[in-house]
């Protein structure tokens, strides 16, 4: 599209005001969905980080005399069938997916990125055998495999997150490999090679860091949200997720889905929906922004 560039005013300014104004104008340009989603993501991040510092004894919270209370000032999301505060559990439930999701996301992005870059850059028999292994893992039906693992092994959220990150490595590696293959043909990468840069530096800095950063971040966020998703799904299918009494959003929905009142299951369900939506929108937004910046 042909657009007229508006006149650019160059103002003298201090470093912080430059930073602020760049940030401010960048923020203002973002679509509403990105703004909303990043607010939610930041909230989840904050809650996730401060969560371990808040003590909560899920055992002592059980109080059968206050079962199924409606939302009120004291319990502002009501109580569940065991008389536990839904709001508190919802908050504490972030812990169940936050660190496992973070670990899974980082692990998948890191390993996937490295493997993908190696496959794409080196080719040859190393690349081919690596990608054969990756393809094999990719062929495994994710959900089926996870259900299987969780049925036959004692359930643990760490196991779930590790398996799901392993299952995601191939797809991330494939994306990165394609990107690296495409970049490998680019002149400036060839120029780097001609300048005698070390291949490791080219891969790690010029390709992975500079070019695939946004892509990897997006995939990481995706894996993170998948851990939340899978934890919920497995909790629903048969208590394969986080075990009672420790709260997770998944087992909150699963445990109280037959309860007489709506809030013990509807509110966690809503939290899941909003968080996953926000995470995905945030990831998309980051990727889009990166593309815009490149253009």
């Amino acid at each position: 599209m042909t657009g007229q560039s508006t006149g650019q005013s160059t103002r003298q300014s201090t470093w912080y005001s430059t930073w602020y104004s760049t940030w401010h104008s960048a923020w203002k340009e973002q679509p509403l969905s990105f703004k909303l989603s990043s607010i939610i993501v930041v909230l989840v991040l904050c809650f996730g980080v401060i969560n371990p510092f808040i003590s909560y004894d899920p055992v002592l919270d059980v109080e059968l005399s206050r079962r199924d209370l409606a939302p009120s000032w004291e319990y502002w999301m009501g109580t569940d069938g065991q008389g536990r505060s839904v709001a508190l559990r919802l908050f504490k439930g972030i812990e169940a997916f936050f660190f496992p999701g973070l670990i899974a996301g980082l692990f998948a992005a890191f390993v996937g990125g490295v493997l993908g870059a190696l496959c794409g850059y080196f080719g040859g028999w190393i690349g081919r055998s690596l990608s054969a292994v990756l393809e094999l893992i990719d062929t495994l039906p994710r959900m089926v495999f996870l259900v299987l693992i969780c049925t036959i092994f004692p359930p643990s959220i760490l196991l779930i997150s590790i398996i799901s990150s392993v299952l995601f490595i191939p797809s991330i590696a494939t994306i990165i490999r394609r990107k690296v293959e495409a970049l490998g043909a680019e002149d400036y990468i060839l120029a780097h090679v001609a300048h005698g840069f070390h291949p490791l530096k080219i891969i790690s800095y010029h390709i992975l860091w500079l070019q695939c950063r946004a892509l990897l971040t997006r995939q990481m966020i995706f894996v993170f949200s998948y851990v939340l998703f899978i934890e919920t799904a497995l909790s629903y299918l048969g208590d394969y997720g986080v075990q009672e009494p420790y709260p997770s959003w998944g087992n909150m929905v699963a445990q109280s889905r037959i309860s007489a009142v709506a809030w013990p299951w509807a509110l966690p369900a809503l939290a899941i929906i909003i968080t996953i939506a926000a995470l995905l929108a945030f990831g998309d937004g980051i990727a889009r922004r990166e593309e815009e910046v490149k253009r």
């Binding site: 055992v59 002592l60 059980v62 059968l64 069938g81 065991q82 049925t151 036959i152 004692p154 359930p155 048969g238 208590d239 075990q243 009672e244 009494p245 445990q255 037959i258």
Partner: protein, 521 residues
């Protein structure tokens, strides 16, 4: 753009088609299975073959298909089924059954003494592998006398031997040898003498139809068992009992759902007493738990009334290993009430002091691994509450929920547990010998107490009813003191049955023993 119009018209046609389909579904008359009795089961039968029944679902469904020689009638007396008369030998070492004539197998062949002989031989065959082989071990020999008479000899003298012949008879002609394989086709399409024969054993539904050549009478035309793992779904189905896709009976209604049917026009709640009781077992290999004071303290920390009321509904709190309806129940023994102070002082006496919130003595910490089977009803909620109650006296409980196979492995084989909760179910009389005798097969808690062992051995030897009862009541008292388990409760179990059913009588263990008398309107 014409694309838009194209899309619109396509959608119009599509939605018309969809509407038509919905209308079709709505208008399809519910297929006329009014005379078919449908019931859900939360687990699928392990097999349709009587030897291989490993869950209650299988116990119940084989009741429709097979018949024993004798059974207990509604009054509790022994009554002939495939046998019409029997004469025990005076020495108590044998019995002769006269068999009913004119009984036919589902494939039309006549039932004869050969089948009875075959059944016992097959059960005793080393290559037929099933877990209740001990039921047949008392028989030394079996012999057919003509076509309709069978003679048994026993290893040991028996008091009322006919009571032991309630095992189901399988047809000799359906098998090549007495070594019966688990994966045999017969186990899916069995042939019995019972009032119902198997029509279809599909993934979720097992369909039975009335056997026309049945020697007795049965009123209802067919039976369908629907595997419905979700208990709330079972309730849902019972709500539609009037319609084609509803069910007419739910065998166990969770207490919290009882209120749904309390004033129902369509469903009646039918209580029945199973001979089963719940217990909290200790692993006696655990150092802390081998101390009786600790066990008593744990028992006293629990409020069983509250646990029962909140999670399971009505039942009797027990003080020993029998149900209240059992002849051996010792009413003089009181169940322990919750008494936190007493529990704490017991722990103090045992030398356990509070240390960072957990009772500790030397190296032994009262941090217990509580392993539970997920399939136990309401196990999660119960475990949570028990956890909370034990926390009050400084016993730290970690819960692990596992599925049946893993539970077996963890608890029974490897004994990797400190606490577990479970249910013992008995078909008639509680035989506690294998539970508490040192080294007995069901004594998975590694319990060993010389006095109890002596008493148990004595009970085995004693054949006089009164003396036996005395011993058992004694045992009750002793077990309540020594607490190998915390005896919890026996439940009042309610079935939900459709009001369309008439002449209902439920056999507590086999459930459908009297089903042929039931009728459906």
């Amino acid at each position: 753009m014409t694309q838009k119009n194209m899309v619109l018209s396509l959608y119009k046609q599509g939605s018309l088609l969809l509407l038509g389909m919905i209308a079709l579904v709505l208008c399809t008359p519910q297929l006329g299975n009014a005379q078919v009795f449908r019931y859900p089961e939360s687990s699928k039968q392990s097999s349709l073959m009587p030897f291989f029944v490993e869950n209650m679902s299988a116990v119940r469904i084989t009741e429709f298909i097979f018949e024993p020689l004798v059974t207990k009638n509604k009054r509790g007396d022994i009554e002939g089924v495939l046998a019409y008369s029997w004469t025990p030998t005076p020495d108590g070492l044998g019995i002769t059954f006269k068999l009913r004539q004119g009984v036919k197998w589902h494939d039309g062949r006549p039932f004869t003494a050969r089948d009875v002989v075959f059944t016992v031989k097959a059960a005793q065959d080393r290559k037929t592998l099933f877990n209740s082989k001990s039921k047949y071990r008392f028989i030394k020999s079996v012999q057919a006398i003509g076509d309709y008479q069978v003679q048994f000899r026993f290893i040991q003298p028996k008091k009322k031997p006919e009571e032991l012949f309630n095992f189901k008879i399988i047809p000799a002609h359906a098998f090549k040898s007495t070594a019966i394989k688990r994966l045999d086709k017969f186990n899916r399409r069995p042939i019995g003498t019972g009032p119902y024969k198997v029509e279809e054993a599909a993934l979720r539904v097992t369909k039975l139809v009335k056997f026309d050549g049945y020697w007795g009478r049965a009123s209802i035309r067919g039976v369908e068992m629907i595997h419905t793992p979700d208990s709330s779904e079972q309730i849902n189905l019972l709500k539609y009992s009037g319609q084609g896709s509803g069910v007419q009976a739910v065998i166990f209604i969770p207490p919290k759902n009882l209120s749904i049917f309390e004033n129902s026009d369509t469903v009646v709640l039918e209580p029945y007493h199973t001979v089963s009781w719940w217990y909290l077992a200790f692993n006696h290999k655990n150092k802390g738990l081998s101390d009786v004071k600790v066990r008593q303290a744990i028992a006293m920390a629990m409020d069983r009334e509250e646990l029962l009321g909140a999670h399971l509904g009505q039942g009797d709190i027990l003080s020993g290993p029998f149900t209240e309806s059992s002849p051996y129940y010792n009413f003089d023994v009181e169940a322990r009430e919750q008494d936190l102070d007493e529990a704490k002082s017991l722990l103090d006496q045992a030398g356990y002091r509070m240390k960072r919130g957990v009772r500790t003595k030397g190296r032994t910490k009262l941090t217990l691994d509580f392993v539970l089977n997920k399939d136990l009803p309401n196990s999660q909620q119960l475990a949570l509450s028990i956890q909370a109650q034990l926390k009050q006296i400084g016993v730290d409980v970690k819960t692990t929920f596992v599925d049946a196979a893993l539970y077996q492995e963890k608890v029974f084989n490897r004994k990797q547990f400190d606490l577990t909760m479970n249910v013992w179910s008995f078909n008639e009389i509680e035989d506690i010998f294998p539970l508490f005798r040192t080294g007995a097969p069901s004594n998975y808690i590694s319990y060993s107490n010389k006095a109890i062992d002596a008493k148990l051995d004595e009970s085995r030897r004693e054949s006089d009813y009164k003396a036996h009862k005395e011993i058992m009541m004694n045992l009750h008292q002793m077990l309540n003191e020594d607490l190998p388990y915390v005896f919890l409760w026996s439940l009042d179990i309610y079935s939900g049955l459709s009001r369309q059913l008439k002449d209902i009588f439920i056999q507590p263990y086999y459930y459908y023993s009297f089903f042929k008398d039931w009728s459906l309107k």
